[in-house]
């Protein structure tokens, strides 16, 4: 009996079904998973209306994506849902890596006091989707979320896309300026367009199971651990992973090997037998089981005319490193402000091309890391197995070998340096353009807060140091970080000194609406700012205010 109760969302008869609506929607989003819902919320925060079409009427069945990385949480925070996720989620604290019976090493995953968000939390996809659905309800005029509405066709025309929708009460069409395909790894939008989805399929089978268990398998009930085994003593596969989700649910991943029979392995009696080997005599209930193999693949082009692919529809990776869902949320973060600017006429459609450039690069990096982890977990020859074995044997004592052990390189945002929108820095003493702005504790009017909560949504000039403070060009929002307490109510105070230390003194940063640094200048270079701003908007002049 699954722990989480999926409550169906109601089908609401849309005006189009009765021929009462001829309106042109700015954006039609296909798919109401974490990516589609986040996309709708991000667009709504920019004042852009969207209709979200999903063929189903419930949130995720099964926990599915559960590991959410710091950058994702920062994005969710900008979207206004992170607090609930943090409160419900299990924050990672300790990771342990075992080889057989032996612990090879452990590592600290404790949150950084100077960042609002922890490195990772575990939270079932159904909660993430539920919180996002509830957040969309804050935008009744901007987000039209339609359940049981299956998109069956999209027809590209000069100025719009006509989308065909099938519902329990009949079929209709609606027009949208852009279609954003967030319909997952098996994207039917991608299929209908006949786009090749090139990549590598791994033969290895994995079994994931969620079990509900009162008694923690970890030594200390309060310290949430994440245990990874190579050659676990309790099953004959190559690897295993055990970690905790909210509601006393534990996720167990078992690598079964390519010869496993999925149907046989997924039988409850077989799953239960395997889980007993992991958790011993503790009482547990089986909550959800899935046997899977996976593919690493991506589209050549993320944008096809007025149809844009976001998340798994554009790229899929193996789960090691948690780069699937996290990569998709970064797509949303990257696309939201650009699509909004184009729809408002504040930027040329050329700005969208940078979404492809930046996120195609990001997904290629995710695929590289996850493919390498998969290869490390699945040696394909005797020699490869020997190399793996010896890396593991040396890892306990030799730090270099520990670095080679690859159970997944955890999701981290890619650098957008040297890409079209970023202006290379002339000074080496700054945070490089293309990087996500690092978070830091700040105060404003004596109240504690976080730097990232003051950035995002629009272009912002961030200045540090007394000399840079005076620089205040027209038409751009400005945010000054002061090294010491100040009477200025709109300034931030760098309470721990880390902002001045990391960002440098008397610097001027141009921060994009997605909190990435587009450019950084010394005070002597301020005449370059207008050019950098035009560049960050793909050449177009930006309208002053949102």
């Amino acid at each position: 009996m699954p722990h989480y109760e999926n409550i169906p969302y109601p089908f609401k008869r849309p005006l189009e079904l009765d021929g009462k609506s001829q309106q042109l929607y700015p954006v039609a989003i296909v798919g109401a998973g974490p990516i589609g819902l986040s996309m709708a919320i991000d667009l709504a925060l920019h004042g852009i209306r969207s209709v979200v079409l999903d063929d189903n009427n419930v949130v995720s069945v099964g926990s599915r994506a559960i590991c959410w990385a710091k950058r994702t949480l920062e994005i969710f925070d900008r979207l206004g849902v992170a607090d609930r996720m943090l409160e419900k989620g299990v924050t990672w604290k300790v990771g342990r890596l075992f080889h057989g019976e032996e612990e090879v090493y452990n590592f600290d995953l404790l949150p950084d006091d100077n960042h609002k968000m922890p490195a990772f939390i575990n939270l079932q996809q159904y909660y993430v989707e539920q919180y996002l659905v509830e957040r969309t309800q804050d935008f009744p005029d901007l987000i039209d979320l339609r359940w049981l509405s299956k998109v069956t066709d999209e027809e590209l025309e000069d100025e719009k896309v006509t989308v065909s929708v099938s519902t329990p009460e009949g079929n209709y069409t609606l027009d949208a300026e852009y279609v954003v395909a967030c319909d997952g790894a098996k994207s039917s939008v991608r299929e209908r367009l006949g786009l090749p989805f090139k990549g590598h399929t791994f033969e290895e089978r994995f079994l994931i199971a969620d079990v509900e268990m009162e008694q923690s398998p970890f030594p200390d009930d309060e310290t949430h651990e994440r245990w990874f085994w190579f050659e676990p003593p309790f099953h004959n596969g190559q690897s295993a992973l055990l970690h905790k989700q909210p509601d006393n649910i534990y996720r167990i991943d078992l690598q079964l090997g390519p010869e496993a029979y999925p149907e046989e392995e997924a039988k409850p009696e077989n799953v239960i037998r395997r889980i007993k080997q992991v958790v011993g005599d503790r009482k547990f209930d089986l909550d959800w089981v899935s046997v899977y193999s996976f593919t690493c693949a991506k589209l050549d082009r993320f944008i096809h005319d007025r149809i844009i692919f976001v998340g798994d529809s554009a790229h899929v990776v193996s789960p090691f490193g948690a780069r699937g869902g996290n990569g998709g949320i970064q797509d949303v973060d990257n696309l939201g402000w650009k699509l909004a600017a184009v729809l408002k006429g504040a930027a040329e459609p050329a700005l969208l091309e940078s979404y492809h450039e930046e996120r195609s690069h990001g997904s290629a990096e995710n695929i590289l890391h996850s493919s390498r982890a998969t290869n490390f977990m699945t040696p394909k020859s005797k020699m490869e197995a020997i190399f793996r074995q010896e890396v593991l044997n040396m890892a306990e004592h030799l730090p270099f070998a520990r670095k080679l052990v690859n159970s997944g390189r955890l999701s981290a945002p890619c650098s957008l340096a040297d890409m079209a929108l970023q202006t290379p820095a002339t000074s080496p003493t700054s945070i490089p353009p293309g990087t996500v702005c690092p978070d830091a504790a700040v105060t404003q009017n004596g109240k504690r807060g976080w730097l990232l909560n003051h950035l995002g949504g629009e272009f912002i000039l961030l200045t540090t140091g007394e000399a840079a403070k005076e620089y205040d060009p027209e038409g751009l929002k400005k945010l000054h970080v002061s090294a010491s307490e100040t009477d200025e109510t709109d300034e931030l105070v760098d309470v721990t000194g880390t902002i001045i230390a990391e960002f440098g003194e008397n610097k001027i940063y141009l921060v994009r609406p997605d909190q990435h640094i587009a450019a950084c200048f010394d005070l002597s270079e301020v005449e370059c700012l207008p050019t950098a701003l035009r560049r960050a908007n793909a050449g177009s002049m930006m309208e002053a205010a949102e």
Partner: protein, 65 residues
């Protein structure tokens, strides 16, 4: 001399790049060919290191003596 190497990480963020190159070099080889490739690689790397003290310590570290 009984000193061993500390095994400090010198490849830094290129560790995964190296491992991939190494595994790719062995792809498609018969086991004996792989062993021969390793032998050549050890000899080439030893020459590149060019320091008998370091090589002796590396051998002691690898043989755990």
């Amino acid at each position: 001399m009984t000193e061993k190497l500390t095994g400090e990480d010198k490849l830094k963020d290129k560790g995964d790049d190296f491992y991939e190159l190494l595994i790719t070099a062995h792809e498609g080889l018969e086991y004996d060919e792989s062993v021969a490739l390793n032998a050549r690689l050890v000899l080439i790397l030893a020459n590149e290191i060019g320091d008998i003290e370091v090589l002796a310590a590396a051998l002691r570290t690898a043989t755990d003596k």
